[in-house]
Symmetry: C2
Subunit: 247 residues, 2 copies
Amino acid sequence: MADGELAALAPQVEDGGVTGGRVHDSVVRILAGWVLGGRYAPGDTLPREEDLTSALGISRTSLREAVKVLAAKGLLEVRPRIGVRVRARQHWRLLDPAVLGWHPDLTRDPELIRSLIEARRVIEPAAAEFAARRCTQAQLEAIETAYLGMERAIPHDLVACCEADLAFHRAVVAASGNIVLTNLVGTIEAALRASFLLTTGLMQNQARTLSVHKAVLECIRAHDTAGARSTVNRLLDLAEEDSRRLA
Amino acid sequence: MADGELAALAPQVEDGGVTGGRVHDSVVRILAGWVLGGRYAPGDTLPREEDLTSALGISRTSLREAVKVLAAKGLLEVRPRIGVRVRARQHWRLLDPAVLGWHPDLTRDPELIRSLIEARRVIEPAAAEFAARRCTQAQLEAIETAYLGMERAIPHDLVACCEADLAFHRAVVAASGNIVLTNLVGTIEAALRASFLLTTGLMQNQARTLSVHKAVLECIRAHDTAGARSTVNRLLDLAEEDSRRLA
């Protein structure tokens, strides 16, 4: 990055020069945006400390604190005599809610969107099959409550619809009776929410989405394991169509 | 729990009555052990604060701090006018390394062991198939290095063998090229390590285990997706046999 470009970023730091929570957050967000947005690629070294502090109008302490936060999230590493380097993508804690929150534009990260759908295709049909085999009455009611929440929210309240959709998928996985899968899906919840918020507004076919959710519920209620698996796959087909429309 | 039983637990608190890190850790570990070990079941209420503090010889502050730690891990909740209650198992952060470390005896938690194997059967064969389809040369070399580490460690060094085994599975999932699956497997790593440490000593058939790992490596190298899937399933059959021997 040329010095001019660096200088142009300075106004992004709120209350420049004053130390405090807001400066800290701003510096973290700027550096995270450079990495997640691809301005600096894995293996690249960030500009020298003195150039960054003067361009951003921040103290060395603020910069170092921000680098420490991003190192803890696997984005950056401090290499002696080399400087601050962007780590390989496999180390990035991309499912961490904070990291997702710093992402400047998830729609421009097709690898993350593709990986998320692919991982859902691995986990969710299997979880739905387990749910059809062994869910309790209370777990079934939780799935139904979430479904009714979606029905109420469509089409006027997109945020409520996202949350109900998320609750539906969480309830299906909880009904699998597998505590490891349930914990794992908790880990991807922030990423799911981010992707649902991206695509819900695009849904041309909300009625179809709703009817497939209903079909998943009814298959689980009827202990139809094959049906549960195939209806969840249909849901994921719709999610994939929506995410392709983003690109 | 009767008062006598509570009193009998008091010696477990190191440096009883003195505040400090060790007391804090001991109190956390005792309460966590009660929950994870099943002395108090989900929905049960712990004894009253004054009974607990006097039985354990600790201050009210120490007790409350410990409860706060366990509430953050989903094990306990403070209910106004009711007291401290054990939460439903689905809220427990069972994959958290700290929670696993507090578990008094994983072999007596068949649900966790069963869920872990079942979740691995969902994720790992799919990840191996993706790896066979698209792993890079460097990713293949990481799998091979882990395999050679297992070969060197068997049969004399069980801990090194566990770590190499873990590195093998981590490398296969990393080679899937799916950043969400890679992140998820990072989440279950502590649980995998705990289960490997339980079962490695039992392995009657280390030579067979080693040969199936080798077969996984060779299928991935040959881009044999069906073979990668089926050899990983054979590995999981062996893991399941071992874990049954624990019960």
